[in-house]
C-alpha cells in the first residue's frame, strides 16, 4: 500500500480520479457477477417461458415453435381435468404434510429449548433427515410403504384386515408422500423455531409464572406470539416447497410413466409439468403450466401471509 502511495505522489490528480472511480464503480463490479448470471439463467428464461407458453411448440413437430396460439394453452388448462386433479393433489398433499409438520416442529423446538445435556447431539439427530437427499428419502420410504413385505404394513398387521396398497388410493398415497416430506423437513423447521425461541427474554416467562400462568399458557401466550415472524417465514417457505413437490411423487410411482399412480392419485403440478414437457414433448403447454404454477404460488403465499399475520403479536 505505502509503496503505491509513494510512486503515485507526483501524479496526484490521476490518482484521485482513480480513487473516485473506484468508489463509484466498484460496487457495481462486485454485484455484477450475480446480476449478469441471474439475468441469463433466471430472468431471461422466465420471460422466455411466457413467450413459449403462447406457442404450439413441440420438438416433434418441426416449425411449431413459431406457431402462435395466443392464450389458447391457458384456456385449455382451465378445462384440463388432469391439471385440476394435479392441483387438488398438490394442495391436498401440501396441507397434509405442512400443517402437522410445522406443529410438530414447534413442539420439538420447545423440547430442545430446555437446558439439556448433549444438546448438540440431539440437534444433529433431529437434523439428519435434512441432510438426506429427497431421492434417497423417497426410495427408502418406497420400500417401507411397499404393499407386500413392506415394513409399515407389517407393523399395521394387527390393526387392519388386509395389507394397505399405499399407491392405490388418493388418501393413502397422499399420506405416504406427506410422511416423506414430513420426515425430511420437520427437524429443519424445528431448528428455525428453536433459534427464534432463544431470543425470547426469560423475564417474560418469569413474570408470567409469578402471575400463575401454567406452562401450557406460557407456551400459547408468550412463545407462539413471539415467534410470529418466524412462523410466517416457515409457513411461506413450506408452502412454496409444497407447491413444487416433484421428486417424492416421481419416485413413488414405480411405473415411471409420470402419471403419479394408475389413476393419477398423486400426480402433482410439477410432475404433470414434467410429464407434458418431458414425456409428451409439449413445450408450449408445459410453459403455460409453469406460469400458472407461478401465479398460484404468488396468490397462496399472499393468502398465507395475511392469515399468519393474524397470530397475535406479543408486544
Amino acid at each position: 500500500m505505502t509503496r503505491g502511495v509513494q510512486r503515485s505522489r507526483d501524479r496526484l490528480p490521476w490518482r484521485s480520479r482513480l480513487h473516485r472511480l473506484d468508489l463509484t464503480v466498484s460496487p457495481y463490479l462486485y454485484i455484477s457477477p450475480f446480476f449478469l448470471l441471474f439475468a441469463v439463467f433466471g430472468l431471461f428464461p422466465l420471460a422466455y417461458t411466457a413467450i413459449i407458453s403462447t406457442t404450439a411448440w413441440s420438438p416433434r413437430k418441426p416449425g411449431s415453435a413459431d406457431v402462435s396460439v395466443g392464450l389458447d394453452n391457458y384456456r385449455t388448462l382451465l378445462t384440463d381435468e388432469n391439471f385440476h386433479n394435479a392441483l387438488i393433489n398438490t394442495l391436498g398433499i401440501g396441507l397434509v404434510s405442512t400443517v402437522p409438520q410445522l406443529l410438530l416442529a414447534l413442539g420439538i423446538a420447545h423440547l430442545l429449548n430446555y437446558r439439556l445435556r448433549g444438546r448438540l447431539v440431539l440437534r444433529m439427530g433431529v437434523l439428519v433427515p435434512y441432510v438426506t437427499s429427497v431421492a434417497a428419502v423417497a426410495l427408502i420410504f418406497n420400500q417401507m410403504f411397499a404393499r407386500d413385505f413392506g415394513l409399515l404394513n407389517w407393523l399395521l398387521q394387527p390393526f387392519v384386515d388386509s395389507p394397505v396398497d399405499w399407491r392405490a388410493d388418493s388418501w393413502s398415497s397422499w399420506i405416504a408422500v406427506s410422511v416423506m416430506v414430513m420426515w425430511h423437513w420437520t427437524g429443519y423447521n424445528a431448528l428455525i423455531y428453536l433459534a427464534a425461541m432463544q431470543t425470547i427474554p426469560y423475564d417474560l416467562y418469569e413474570s408470567a409464572s409469578i402471575d400463575g400462568a401454567s406452562k401450557w399458557q406460557q407456551f400459547w401466550h408468550i412463545t407462539v406470539p413471539s415467534l410470529r415472524p418466524t412462523i410466517i417465514f416457515t409457513v411461506i417457505v413450506s408452502t412454496i416447497g409444497a407447491l413444487q413437490l416433484f421428486a417424492e411423487p416421481f419416485l413413488f410411482d414405480t411405473t415411471r410413466n409420470n402419471n403419479g399412480g394408475s389413476e393419477r392419485q398423486f400426480q402433482t403440478i410439477v410432475l404433470y409439468l414434467y410429464q407434458q414437457f418431458w414425456t409428451n414433448g409439449r413445450y408450449g403447454y408445459g410453459a403455460a403450466i409453469a406460469w400458472t404454477l407461478f401465479l398460484i404460488t404468488v396468490i397462496i403465499a399472499a393468502i398465507n401471509f395475511v392469515l399468519t399475520r393474524r397470530i397475535r403479536s406479543s408486544d
Binding site: D22, S26, L120, V128, I192, Q198, F246
Partner: protein
C-alpha cells in the same frame, strides 16, 4: 450460549423431555439405518415376512454391484465436481455482492437488493423449459456437467446470507481505516473483508454443497444414465419393472453417507448457519 436465560425443566419433566427427544432422534435416524439393513441383504430376504431388522452380510456385494451397474464411481466424481464448483462460485460471488450491499454506498442499492430478495421466491421449475433449450441447443451441453453447473453459479440466497452476515460481522470503522490508509476497494475486500467473512462463507458453502449434492430435478433432465450424478444414479437403479430393492438402497447408502459424514464432522457449523439464517431471515 444460553447463559442461564433458558428455562430448566424440573425433575420428572426432564426425563419426559429426554424420552421424547430421543424417540424423535431414533425416528429421524431409523430410515437411514433401515436402508443399511436392506442394502446388506440379498434380494430374497427383502420379500420376507417379517422384514429383516438387523444387517445381513451382503453389504459389500451390493455396494460393489451398485458401483458397477449404477455407475456410482463416476456418479460420485460427477457429484463432487458439480457441488464443489457451484459451492466455490456461489461463495465467491455472494461474498463480493454481499460486501457491496452491506458496506458500500451506491445508487440503486436498496432497489437492487430488494430484487435479490424477490428472486428467492421464483421457483426453478418455472424456467425449466427455456433453460433446457438454452443449455442443450444453444450451448450444446446436453449430458454435459457444464449444463448442470453453469446455471447454478450464483445464488440469491447466498447474496442475501452474506449481506446479513457482513452487516453485523464487519465493523464500518475497519473499512474507514482502510480508506484512510489509501487502500482501494478491492484491497479492502481482499485483506479486510474476506478474513472476517470466512466463518459465514464456510457455513454458506456447506449449505450450498448439501443442496447441490442432493439436487435431482435438473440433473435428471440433463444427464443420461451413462453420465449421472449420485442422485440421478439412485433414481436410475430404481426404474424398471423388476426393481432390486437391496441394490436401490445400496445406492441410497452411497449417495447419502458421504454427505452424512461431512455433517457429522461439521454439524455444529451447519446447525449454527441454519439457526443464524433463521433469526435474521
Amino acid at each position: 450460549m444460553g447463559r442461564g436465560r433458558r428455562k430448566r425443566a424440573k425433575d420428572g419433566g426432564l426425563w419426559i423431555t429426554y424420552g421424547l427427544l430421543i424417540t424423535i432422534v431414533l425416528v429421524s435416524a431409523f430410515p437411514l439405518y433401515w436402508s443399511v439393513v436392506v442394502s446388506s441383504r440379498d434380494k430374497s430376504s427383502v420379500g420376507r415376512y417379517p422384514p429383516p431388522l438387523v444387517p445381513g452380510g451382503n453389504l459389500w456385494d451390493n455396494l460393489s454391484t451398485a458401483f458397477v451397474q449404477g455407475k456410482f464411481g463416476l456418479a460420485l466424481l460427477n457429484s463432487t465436481l458439480v457441488a464443489g464448483s457451484i459451492t466455490l462460485s456461489v461463495v465467491l460471488t455472494s461474498t463480493l455482492a454481499g460486501f457491496a450491499f452491506a458496506k458500500l454506498r451506491f445508487r440503486g442499492r436498496n432497489a437492487l437488493f430488494t430484487m435479490v430478495v424477490a428472486t428467492m421466491l421464483v421457483p426453478t421449475q418455472l424456467a425449466i423449459i427455456p433453460l433446457y433449450i438454452m443449455v442443450t441447443q444453444w450451448f450444446g451441453w446436453s449430458n454435459d456437467l457444464r449444463g448442470v453447473i453453469v446455471p447454478a453459479l450464483v445464488s440469491a440466497f447466498g447474496v442475501f446470507f452474506m449481506r446479513q452476515y457482513l452487516t453485523s460481522a464487519m465493523p464500518d470503522e475497519l473499512i474507514e481505516a482502510g480508506r484512510v490508509d489509501g487502500a482501494s476497494t478491492l484491497r479492502i475486500y481482499w485483506s479486510l473483508v474476506l478474513p472476517i467473512a470466512r466463518p459465514g462463507a464456510a457455513v454458506l458453502g456447506l449449505l450450498i454443497f448439501i443442496t447441490y449434492w442432493n439436487d435431482l430435478f435438473w440433473p435428471l433432465i440433463l444427464l443420461n444414465t451413462q453420465n449421472p450424478t449420485v442422485q440421478v444414479a439412485i433414481a436410475n437403479t430404481a426404474s424398471g419393472i423388476e426393481v432390486d430393492y437391496s441394490l436401490v438402497l445400496a445406492g441410497t447408502v452411497i449417495a447419502t453417507f458421504p454427505i452424512l459424514i461431512v455433517f457429522l464432522i461439521l454439524g455444529r457449523q451447519i446447525i449454527g448457519g441454519i439457526m443464524q439464517g433463521a433469526v435474521k431471515g
